[in-house]
């Protein structure tokens, strides 16, 4: 039986082990790939993935549909834990991953969830390759390296404003590029 992301969210909300099982079966591979990209250590990546899914199981209802797709939520949790691990800062609570309080809700129809399902890795690689090198390096230093904007500015020897500009322009270009490839009815700002 094929479960939609909404089905999985409902199941997690009901604190069902099957919900975590379905979440892992759908996004465990992605989570492992992201954790391994950040940590470059198989054992540490496995630990982070297991901790991330256990955190979802134990804390449950923190998914907020207004903040992105289920896929993005999983990526964010895993990425943040991996970065914490990378920094050896296991006790820091990430503000961008709320850990309790909210009630889980089914996601509204999300065009980017469809984008994620339909885009191939090659298409995303192509979109990234179209970015100027410095823009791609900036977003990768932040997302996979865990550097803050000021740390990136120091590392790349550019003003803070340049880092801000590069990140925003890069994401706007990616957004436009990926939406174009799918001919998604996307309203750009």
């Amino acid at each position: 039986m094929h479960l939609t992301d909404d089905d999985i969210i409902r199941s997690i909300s009901a604190h069902s082990p099957e919900g975590i099982e379905a979440l892992y079966d759908r996004y465990g591979g992605l989570a492992h790939t992201v954790a391994l990209r950040i940590l470059a250590d198989r054992g540490a990546a496995e630990d982070v993935v297991q901790e991330s899914f256990l955190a979802v199981w134990r804390r449950g209802s923190t998914f907020q549909p207004g903040r992105g797709s289920l896929r993005s939520w999983v990526c964010t949790i895993v990425r943040n834990r991996a970065i914490d691990r990378l920094r050896g800062d296991l006790h820091r609570t990430r503000l961008d991953t709320p850990i309790e309080g909210q009630t889980i809700e089914p996601a509204v129809t999300d065009p980017w969830a469809a984008v994620a399902l339909e885009l191939s890795g090659e298409e995303v690689r192509k979109a990234l390759a179209e970015l100027p090198l410095e823009q791609r390096q900036t977003i990768e230093l932040a997302y996979y390296g865990g550097y803050s904007q000021s740390e990136i500015a120091t590392k790349m020897e550019v003003p803070l404003g340049t880092v801000k500009g590069r990140v925003r322009i890069a994401l706007d270009k990616l957004r436009a590029s990926l939406a174009d490839r799918l001919e998604a009815p996307w309203q750009m700002q």
Partner: protein, 238 residues
């Protein structure tokens, strides 16, 4: 109170937030702005989603099978604990899962479940555990054993005697097989150095499965059986 930002500044911060590059204190500025700005509020989710798509460009690295086993063993153990929560359940849930079950851990689980059975039977308040017989296959005909399903029907312990020792590069992986379906890997057998028995804890209901079996597989397990079948048992009335 954080300084107010305009849409242009807020969108810079939203993009930085999506890649995790905000400085401390900047989140408050975003939240104050997006709380009242219909233009910028939906942009937050769009940036987060587009950043998560970056991971699609990575070469996928499938996780080892043991990761799923360990995760779900922990989840089912905690689910059982939440249902009934006696002390022996809490013991099961307390077993570390980040690096697979240790021999000691498996022994503790087995002891806990057995004590649980004893405690439940002593109170006479729940269904009796169910035991099924397992036996060796042609590759290891001297193998004997049993799988005992707990009274809550949510966890079973497989105990096997007579299995041959394995090289360090292999494990015995346990599979549940439905009547007309694909085997599902559910656990690894661990040796008890004291009495040469092997045990595995299987979490979840056995209801939809007809057969339990074990094969030798590479360390970390396989997504489907690849090695020799060493034992099997019918999960139903004999």
């Amino acid at each position: 109170m954080a300084d107010a930002v305009n849409c242009d500044e807020a969108q810079d911060l939203l993009a930085l937030d999506a890649v995790g590059a905000l400085e401390p204190g900047e989140r408050a500025q975003i939240e104050r702005h997006t709380a009242t700005c219909p233009t910028c509020a939906p942009l937050a989710a769009q940036y987060v989603d587009v950043v998560s798509l970056m991971s699609a460009a990575l070469e996928p690295v499938p996780p080892p099978a043991r990761l799923r086993r360990n995760l779900m063993a922990q989840v089912y153990a905690e689910a059982s604990a939440a249902e009934t929560n006696p002390w022996w359940r809490r013991l099961v849930a307390a077993i570390p899962a980040s690096r697979g079950m240790t021999v000691l851990g498996v022994a503790a689980v087995a002891a806990a479940v057995i004590l649980g059975f004893w405690g439940v039977a002593g109170r006479g308040s729940a269904a009796a555990p169910i035991t099924y017989v397992v036996s060796g296959s042609t590759s290891q005909p001297l193998v004997t054993g049993s799988v005992t399903l707990d009274s809550a029907r949510t966890q079973a312990v497989l105990t096997v005697h007579g299995l041959a020792p394995l090289p360090a590069s292999e494990v015995y992986e346990v599979w549940l097989i439905p009547a007309d379906g694909t085997p599902t890997g559910v656990a690894f057998l661990s040796p008890d150095p004291a009495d040469h028995d092997w045990t595995a804890v299987v979490n979840g209901s056995l209801e939809r499965f007809e057969t339990i079996a074990a094969t030798n597989e590479p360390v970390g397990g396989s997504s489907a059986p690849t090695g020799s079948q060493v034992l099997s048992g019918h999960l139903g009335p004999s």
